[in-house]
């Protein structure tokens, strides 16, 4: 099963020069079911940017099994948008920052019950990409939805 559902050329400009809406595009890039299958059978591993890791620890109190449970519980209708994003602030290859095509999902998730729970608000906002050659799901951002900023992304 292909992880990529849709292909798109990266933007010409530095992402810093683009507005929030300028970074967004549609439709979704990654095949959610394929990603979930890959994570379940070990073909894919999750890797967090340090920013996402700090958010996951401080704001969500998650461990690796909670992250896996979150991804396993996602459904297509939890998709919010897709956008170009840097995975971390520093990484540059040949002096150029590398942007990744990310999908953004948002879901109420209870890590105790390990399932989607509608009333568990604020929802968990997760932006990720797949590095197909490295067999990694790279999580760029993961935190409780910040009401105004994140709702406007819908």
């Amino acid at each position: 099963m292909q992880y990529r559902e849709y292909s798109l050329a990266p933007p010409d400009h530095d992402l810093e020069q683009l507005s929030d809406s300028g970074r967004k595009f549609s439709p979704r890039i990654w095949n959610l079911q394929a990603v979930q299958t890959g994570l379940a059978n070990g073909a894919l591993e999750i890797e967090l940017s340090t920013k996402a890791s700090d958010q996951v620890l401080l704001e969500l109190g998650y461990r690796s099994n909670h992250l896996k449970g979150f991804f396993a519980s996602l459904e297509r209708h939890h998709y919010l948008c897709s956008e170009w994003s840097y995975i971390a602030s520093e990484p540059k290859i040949n002096g150029m920052s590398v942007s990744y095509a990310c999908d953004v999902y948002s879901m109420g998730f209870n890590k105790g019950l390990m399932k989607q729970v509608e009333k568990m608000r604020p929802y968990v906002y997760c932006k990720f990409t797949v590095k197909e050659d490295a067999k990694k799901v790279l999580v760029a951002t993961m935190h409780p939805e910040r009401d105004l900023a994140d709702r406007s992304r819908r």
């Binding site: 967090l48 700090d54 704001e59 990484p91």
Partner: protein, 187 residues
């Protein structure tokens, strides 16, 4: 320590490094060392693997259990998830303003006493049940996580007109009484 090739640039070697994090402690912050991440020597890409995340989560847990008033937003969310309650409901249990827990989970500074109360609710079995009893709030037992340590420790038993906490370890009556005592507290 050389770990492996960087997944980002495919050129540099990565190594595991330690770093510190600032953990809220009431109105202050305490710098906690020992967190792990992987850094690429070539492109400076930094990431945290799942093993490292679990190691870092152990440190966070240790802070929550051993440093007075060390409460971060994830603790409050964990309490709510354990009992499957909303921010507003947890605010009520804490006797705080309606939106207090929402603000704390968004990063607002907690006072020392509030942080201590949250720390007890997180770490001391029976605290949330007792707060619910005081607030006349019904916890919905059916929504609790079956394997939660909280369920294992629920044992408020009536003693001379008061509810007395009795741990599973020291009460052979625990299993028999837990159900009806919980129902009494919840009711």
């Amino acid at each position: 320590m050389i770990y492996r090739k960087c997944t980002h640039c495919d050129i540099g070697n990565t190594r595991v490094v330690e770093y510190s994090m600032d953990i809220p402690q009431g109105r202050r912050k305490v710098k906690v060392p020992g967190f792990l991440k992987t850094v690429c020597d070539g492109c400076d890409y930094e990431y945290v693997s799942m093993d490292q995340l679990d190691h870092n989560a152990d440190i966070m847990e240790s802070c929550a259990e051993n440093i007075q008033a060390a409460v971060y937003p994830g603790i409050l969310r964990s309490i709510r998830e354990r009992w499957n309650i909303t921010q507003r409901q947890l605010s009520r249990l804490f006797g705080a303003g309606e939106s207090a827990v929402g603000k704390w989970e968004s990063g607002a500074v907690m006072s020392g006493p509030s942080a201590l109360l949250a720390q007890c609710a997180y770490s001391v079995p029976g605290t949330v049940e007792y707060l619910a009893h005081l607030a006349d709030f019904k916890l919905n037992r059916r929504e609790l996580h079956k394997n939660s340590v909280v369920l294992d420790a629920i044992a408020w038993r009536p003693h001379k007109g008061n509810f007395v906490y009795s741990s599973a370890a020291n009460s052979h009556l625990y299993e028999k009484n837990a159900e009806k005592v919980f129902d009494r507290v919840a009711a």
